[in-house]
């Protein structure tokens, strides 16, 4: 078991290293560089200025040299300096990560709370009208463009019926009590969370329904029924518990994609999260920020994959890692 984990970990590290170079290469393939951004802002910059600044930022060196410099500074614990904001990457990334975590976490929670009962209900009432409506709802969830649902939500709940703020992370004010600022944050979270969770509710409902159907078709359910157990006991203790295993996996995996999945939601709602930061940093060629965010995202996916695999082993005794 330990050997297996070690081998997988090693593999993961190698993959992360290779991917980091791949991403770096992709970024450099994008035309232009941070200095070009300055040219756009200031037409009085001369070409001599441009060359001076490129040399100063090390942009005149070949890709692999720049990658090596970047990678070695990362290895030494220095995440670098954001060219756009002119502050260390950690200063800008830290609060954004927290914001995204709050948004994504809340959306996941809402999605699970709504989706699991719906999914179970649909499975138990298979082919009933409830099943159809829930299914339609779930299909709409996975089929709707995320930016569009965001626009519609803003239109309905911030413009026509102005009950929620149209965008932003929170009110900017000094004199709020902790309770007030908490309520304020909540108000700003409602629409982004709604739009983000609407998308994942679809996925979870469908997974729950499928897993539940699968579980209910097993022999032990028949046995339980034959034993004359009560219905709730059959559904919850035997059916749902077994349906949980695949559900946990998919939840673990979706944790990692929430990170990049929030880009569009954050952009439309002007939510100060890491997704929006990544988008901005790619747009403005802010390499250091984009690369760190890239690496966090990739590592999370790979790690969650690993954990999901290991969890399988724990949950299902038939699988062993000899």
């Amino acid at each position: 078991m330990t050997a297996y984990i070690l081998r997988r970990l090693l593999q993961t590290v190698v993959v992360i290293l290779l991917l980091s170079y791949f991403c770096y290469l992709l970024m450099t393939l994008m035309p232009g560089d941070p200095v070009d951004e300055m040219i756009m802002a200031n037409p009085e910059i001369t070409s001599a200025d441009i060359d001076r600044l490129r040399a100063l930022h090390g942009l005149d060196q070949p890709v692999w040299v720049r990658y090596w410099n970047w990678a070695s500074s990362i290895a030494s614990g220095d995440l670098g300096y954001s060219r756009t904001y002119r502050v260390p990457v950690t200063d800008i990334l830290g609060p954004r990560l927290l914001n995204t975590f709050i948004l994504a976490g809340a959306a996941l929670l809402v999605a699970l709370i709504v989706a699991i009962p719906l999914g179970v209900w649909a499975a138990l009432k298979k082919n009933s009208s409830a099943d159809y409506v829930i299914n339609l709802f779930a299909f709409a969830g996975i089929s709707v463009p995320s930016f569009w649902i965001a626009i519609v939500l803003i239109l309905v709940f911030a413009v026509y019926i102005p009950i929620f703020p149209a965008g932003g992370t929170g009110s900017i004010a000094f004199d709020m009590t902790p309770w007030e600022s908490f309520v304020d944050r909540l108000k700003y979270l409602v629409l982004p969370v709604l739009s983000l969770s609407f998308l994942s509710i679809g996925t979870y409902v469908r997974y729950t329904r499928a897993a539940m159907l699968e579980a209910m078709g097993n022999d032990y359910i028949r046995t339980a029924r034959a034993k004359g157990l009560s219905w709730p006991r059959i559904y919850l203790m035997h059916g749902f518990r077994n349906a949980l295993i695949p559900l946990i996996t998919i939840t673990a995996l979706s944790f990692s994609t929430l990170f990049s999945g929030a880009i569009i939601t954050e952009t439309v709602f002007a939510y100060q999260g890491v997704g929006q930061l990544v988008f901005e940093s790619i747009q403005s060629n802010d390499f250091n920020v984009a690369m760190v965010a890239f690496m966090i995202s990739v590592s999370m996916v790979l790690l969650m994959n690993l954990i999901a695999d290991l969890l399988y082993g724990v949950a299902d005794p038939r699988i062993s890692y000899a």
Binding site: D36, I39, Q276, N285
Partner: protein, 585 residues
């Protein structure tokens, strides 16, 4: 079952459709803002506020609220002293031409305002300017435009009074005193950082107090100081108690970054921001919003101010079709510029005749001095007929070699107004048999590569924004044609070369007499409009939305931001509104 599902879909569609048709009714965003707080929305990112390295437009906008420069340009395009007591000129005797027989230069005496001080009470002196100049010239500091510092050869401080100093300029130019971008740095706070990190590339920027401790009051010299800096999110400013000018009326200003223009507008209507700065709505959006403000009597004022930003088309003179002056003129004649600005901008962005804006003191539209092309499709067709381009049945013109008159029209992708204009132009030129292919690059490719290397094959649309009375050398001189030899420097992207114009731009720098300068620039304009290396389109207008009770606010018609006079902004209360009516000055 599926009928029910279908009904459900239909119902959903119906609700959404109904919502789309019901126009939202009057929504007053609560009460009018008061002098206690003003919340301004912007859509562009800002960086930290170190004046010497800042390069983003939004940072410059904000910086004007917290920092001052040596001189300024007011709303009527007049140069006024700001941190200085007076602007030295040859006429007032504060500046003089000096010569050592070999070369000539200028020396000017500057005096800093006696009460000027940093936000921590430390007096602001010539030493802070000298320090800023030193930092600006350091090879390890990423100053965007080094010419601001390089034009000064030395700064000599009066040993008896650090508020007085003499600038020695490298060259004798008439516009030596235009120091609106020369900002002081607080030497008492920044000198130790600079000395410690001076030999490290970007060391100073990364460790500066502006980066590490941005709320330190001593960093700011304007009417406000930063009390909270949330990069990528917001800025909170409060009155600077040590400001040397009139104290500001508004206690606190909150600047919120809302990158999405649609969301920005929703926030304005919902009252979570009170005002949208010039760096906010797109022009199209402002127009629609202005109509709505009028129709629903919303408590806002939408401001439009034509500025110095000059939207134009560069014609690549390497293109064989465009080398023919008749083709270039036909292209100008075919564009209905007035129609364009009327249709797309409600006439609120003025059509352009040449590269100088109407707010520039050098401006002219005298047909004796420049060539003016009035829209005439017939004239355009005649010129193309003359140039040997004949119509074919497909609705396009072809030359004797059977080549179609096809031009590529490029601009920055994602700029909606430009894309609209581009499609409008495509349509207009189709009317004279020109096949226009649209190809857009993202901004950074467009400026960093396509334009800089002159890789645009035919026509390119973009804008310049320059200060008033600016020498157009970098756009018209043949030295400024970017090429391998000059390291791709200069912005004469059409590749226009005219020996007389080259002489004129040199003479312009040395012309200390105002009338002489006027004659010189008008001669340049004549060549520029006669030969048509560039097709002028329109001058961009700055737009902003302000609460109806804000007074003392004006958008200047130039690139120095409206925030330059932030201390004059005042929010009237209900009584005053009632007394003065909503259009109080």
């Amino acid at each position: 079952m599926s009928t029910r599902a279908l009904l459900f879909i239909a119902l959903l569609a119906l609700i959404i459709g109904a919502l789309a048709y019901v126009r939202p009714q009057l929504m007053r965003p609560g009460e009018l803002p008061t002098n206690a707080e003003l919340k301004i929305g912007i859509t562009q990112e800002f960086e930290n506020l170190n004046p010497i390295v800042m390069s983003m437009v939004a940072t410059t906008y904000v910086y004007r609220m917290v920092g001052r420069s040596l001189i300024q340009l007011d709303e009527d395009s007049q140069w006024l002293p700001q941190l200085a007591v007076a602007i030295p000129t040859l006429e007032n005797g504060l500046a003089r031409r000096v010569s050592d027989g070999e070369r000539e230069w200028i020396e000017a005496d500057w005096t800093i305002h006696p009460q000027a001080s940093w936000g921590d009470g430390e007096p602001l002196t010539c030493r802070d300017f000298r320090f800023s100049w030193e930092v600006g010239l350091s090879p390890n500091v990423g100053v965007p435009n080094i010419e601001i510092y390089r034009q000064i050869a030395d700064i000599r401080i009066d040993p008896d009074d650090p508020k007085r100093c003499t600038f020695e300029y490298r060259e004798a130019r008439w516009n030596f005193n235009r120091h609106h971008l020369f900002y002081p740095l607080p030497e008492h706070l920044e000198r130790p950082v600079f000395e410690r990190f001076a030999d490290q590339p970007e060391g100073y920027e990364q460790h500066s107090n502006y980066t590490r401790d941005p709320t330190h009051p001593g960093l700011y010299s304007g009417p406000y100081r930063i009390v909270n800096l949330g990069l990528g999110s917001h800025l909170i400013l409060e009155r600077n108690l040590h400001f040397f000018g009139d104290p500001a009326h508004i206690d606190r200003i909150v600047i919120m970054l809302i990158p999405n223009t649609g969301t920005l507008e929703a926030n304005l209507r919902a009252g979570s921001i009170d005002m949208v700065s010039q760096l906010g709505m797109t022009f199209d959006q402002s127009l629609a919003f202005a109509n709505r403000v009028q129709a629903q009597e919303l408590p806002f004022r939408v401001n439009f101010q034509p500025g110095l930003t000059y939207e134009h088309l560069d014609l690549n003179l390497d293109n064989p079709f465009l080398q023919d002056i008749r083709v270039r003129r036909a292209l100008v004649y075919a564009i209905d510029r007035q129609g364009l600005v009327d249709a797309l901008f409600d006439g609120l962005q003025p059509a352009a005749f040449h590269n100088l804006a109407p707010t520039d003191p050098w401006y002219t539209e005298d047909p004796q001095r420049i060539v003016i092309y009035r829209h005439s499709r017939r004239q355009a067709n005649r010129l193309l007929d003359e140039a040997g381009w004949v119509w074919r049945d497909d609705g396009y013109r072809y030359n004797a070699d059977g080549e179609r008159l096809r031009l590529r029209l490029m601009t920055t992708a994602g700029n909606k107004v430009r894309e609209l204009v581009q499609i409008y132009l495509q349509d207009q030129w189709r009317g004279i048999g020109v096949d226009v292919r649209i190809q857009n690059d993202p901004g950074r490719v467009f400026f960093g590569q396509t334009m800089r290397r002159r890789e645009y094959g035919g026509v390119a649309m973009y804008a310049w924004s320059s200060s008033p009375e600016n020498n157009p050398r970098s756009m018209v001189s043949s030295d400024a044609i970017p090429s391998e030899n000059n390291g791709w420097s200069g912005q004469n992207y059409p590749g226009w070369s005219n020996a007389r114009v080259d002489e004129l731009v040199d003479e312009l720098d040395r012309a200390f007499d105002e009338q002489e300068r006027l004659d010189l620039i008008h001669e340049i304009l004549w060549h520029y409009t006669y030969e048509v290396p560039v097709i002028p389109l329109y001058y961009r207008s700055e737009t902003s939305v302000t609460p109806i009770n804000l007074t003392g606010y004006r958008i200047p018609g130039h690139q120095i931001s409206a925030a330059n006079h932030v201390e004059r902004w005042r929010l009237m209360d209900a009584d005053e509104m009632a007394r003065n009516g909503s259009d109080a000055p």
